[in-house]
């Protein structure tokens, strides 16, 4: 067997830090992105994700740390020499140029022939499903069409890295979901290394191969979306990705853990107290007489496809998602029993 040699391919960030005066926007971020993957930087607004992306693009100078691409240090390479494609939140389309001229701009400034430019523009417009739009002025396009033009322009040079800063946030919900799927398919087809900044966890779940959760300038967890959903590293991540119940628990010394309203038999805690993260779909409603945990229903949200039941267990609110097929008679004020299996609990520090 060969010894494992760390080969630096793809994008590597080493202790990347950015301070704005006294504020640390990005705090010692380490990250390795393999070629061809789609990474989502996910976090609440002000968590430093956009600053991190801008440093990768070369639009912001890191205070310290290094950025490497295939082992080459590009930390101090100016933005216009990096050959990355970037889609901005406000798109940054050139208002005085038409669609074709916008897309051809990077080709034009590199002195490509008129014919080569036109051919590439035609290809790219086909790629983003806007064939024949080359001569339209930007002002005559809808929001979704502008989005596509911005994407086509960023891809014009077949960039080494494709960066998107909240690319879909200006679109309405329905179009946004459609574009998420389309963008992901496009990325898979081109096999281009892509980094998307978003605050929308649904968007991250839809698109990402790898999700990087950020909070307060720090990376909180890195992993595939389902792993982050199933195994959140802390309460911040658990509550940011999807809906979760955070339940305080204590070891009860009898092969189980005490929780508000009852106990979870079989759950062994290594410390005396902990916080449990349990997804709503992992909470089963049972008969109150024999159930290990009891509570009172406070609200029922019937969304048709799912039914969310809000239960008050000695002051702690627990949300359970019921499969709609059964559609049991549950009303606010009713006493219900809850069963939680130990395997479905993620034990977090208290």
């Amino acid at each position: 067997m060969q010894p494992e040699v760390p080969v630096l391919t793809g994008l590597t960030l080493e202790a990347l830090t950015k301070r704005f005066g006294p504020v640390t926007a990005v705090d010692r971020v380490d990250l390795n992105v393999a070629h061809g993957t789609l990474v989502c930087l996910l976090g609440p607004s002000g968590c430093g994700k956009t600053t991190l992306l801008r440093m990768i693009a070369g639009l912001e100078e890191p205070t310290s740390g290094r950025i490497l691409l295939d082992g080459t240090d590009i930390t101090s390479l100016p933005a216009h020499r990096r050959d990355f494609g970037m889609v901005f939140q406000s798109l940054g389309l050139f208002p005085h140029l038409d669609v074709g001229e916008n897309i051809a701009y990077p080709l034009r400034i590199r002195g490509q022939s008129r014919a080569a430019q036109n051919e590439r523009v035609r290809q790219l417009l086909e790629l983003v499903h806007l064939p024949g739009y080359a001569d339209r002025p930007i002002s005559k396009l809808s929001g979704g069409q502008r989005q596509r033009v911005a994407i086509a322009r960023a891809l014009a040079l077949s960039p080494r890295l494709f960066l998107l800063d909240e690319p879909l946030s200006a679109l309405d919900a329905k179009l946004r979901e459609a574009m998420q799927v389309e963008l992901t398919q496009l990325q898979r087809r081109l096999g281009i290394t892509t980094i998307v900044v978003t605050h929308d966890q649904r968007e991250a779940m839809t698109m990402a191969d790898l999700v990087v959760i950020m909070g307060n300038g720090k990376v909180r967890q890195i992993g595939p979306p389902v792993e982050i959903y199933r195994r959140p590293a802390d309460a911040f991540v658990a509550s940011f990705i999807g809906t979760t119940n955070l339940i305080p628990a204590r070891a009860d010394g009898a092969q189980g853990a005490a929780v508000p309203g009852g106990r979870i038999p079989g759950l062994l805690l290594s410390q005396t107290s902990a916080t449990l993260s349990v997804r709503p779909e992992d909470i089963a409603l049972t008969d109150p007489e024999s159930a290990p945990i009891r509570g009172e229903v406070t609200f029922v949200r019937d969304l048709g496809a799912t039914i969310e039941v809000f239960i008050n267990c000695e002051g702690t609110e627990i949300i359970a998602v019921e499969p709609p097929r059964e559609r049991r008679e549950i009303r606010p004020g009713a006493r219900v029993g809850i069963a939680i299996t130990p395997e479905r609990c993620v034990v977090l520090p208290p």
């Binding site: 693009a57 070369g58 639009l59 100016p78 933005a79 216009h80 020499r81 990096r82 050959d83 990355f84 494609g85 970037m86 901005f88 939140q89 406000s90 798109l91 940054g92 389309l93 050139f94 208002p95 005085h96 701009y105 990077p106 400034i109 590199r110 911005a150 322009r153 960023a154 014009a156 040079l157 960066l163």
Partner: protein, 283 residues
């Protein structure tokens, strides 16, 4: 933004006062000036009502033609220089930290508070042989001895650019600061250097604002009559200087009025032409 059209006479009330002020203090005097330009001059500093075209006929000469030509050229040159320096300057200014921006703007506003006389004398001192900036060059040994830079065309131009520059920056400041920064950043990521992005994208995007500023500075510079006298030789005097000369020193008000009317008509038609050209190019 959509505004409702005024429907009744009462809706026009808010503009009634400014309109009245404009009519009384601008419309009426201008009307009087137009009338006087057709009056007959009487020796001894007066005029009597008449309708003669002699006042207009008089400056259809090579001398007044060349003075008019020089005035227009000077004003256009001042406008172009101001915008050529002012656009990159304002662009950089809007990207500075707020504290620096305020400092610069206060400094520029301070220039507006200076009277044309003070600007003229300050520059004639700065450009003089005895106390001017050439003494600095002599002191560091770059040249053997100081010389005078004023009066000259360069001195007139410098003084007028100095005077018009704050207006240029103030007019450009709003449109430049409204510029979407992601346009330039997008260009950077697409491979354009900062300088290239400025010329490829910032200038074309600001085209209308730049054109409007050129027109404004042009009209402003056209009215300058003190600086050419303080910093220039007689061949650098503008039509405004001649108008002042006729009105005050020669006491020939009808001729001065005719020249003033002519100047207004010429500048109005030039401004109209520029606006028309801009509109045609935009569509």
């Amino acid at each position: 933004m959509k505004r409702e059209k005024p429907r009744s006479a009462a809706d026009y009330l808010p503009v009634a006062f400014p309109a009245a002020m404009l009519a009384v203090f601008f419309g009426v005097p201008f009307g009087i000036m137009v009338a006087i330009s057709f009056f007959r001059r009487v020796q001894g500093g007066f005029y009597e009502p008449d309708f003669v075209l002699a006042n207009y006929g008089r400056f259809l000469s090579v001398f007044f033609g060349s003075v008019l030509g020089f005035s227009l050229e000077l004003a256009a040159l001042v406008a172009v220089i101001c915008v050529a320096i002012g656009t990159p300057f304002t662009y950089l200014l809007t990207r500075m930290p707020r504290r620096w921006q305020i400092g610069w703007l206060v400094g520029l506003l301070a220039i507006l508070a200076l009277s044309e006389v003070i600007i003229g004398f300050a520059w004639s001192t700065l450009l003089s042989r005895t106390a001017g900036i050439t003494n600095l060059l002599a002191a560091v040994g770059l040249v053997r001895e100081a010389w005078s830079l004023s009066p000259s065309f360069g001195a007139v131009l410098t003084g007028m650019v100095y005077q018009a520059f704050p207006y240029t920056v103030l007019v450009l400041f709003a449109p430049v600061s409204r510029l979407d920064p992601s346009i330039v950043e997008a260009a950077r990521t697409l491979g354009a250097s900062p300088v290239r992005a400025f010329f490829n994208l910032v200038i074309p995007t600001l085209r209308n604002a730049i054109l409007a500023t050129i027109i404004l500075v042009f009209v402003f510079a056209l009215g300058s009559y003190l600086l050419p006298q303080l910093l220039g030789r007689p061949q650098h005097w503008t039509l405004s200087v001649l108008i002042t000369d006729q009105a005050i020193y020669q006491s020939n008000l009808p001729f001065a009025a005719a020249m003033a009317v002519f100047l207004v008509l010429i500048s109005l038609s030039l401004v109209g032409l520029a606006t028309l050209l801009a509109r045609r190019e935009a569509t």
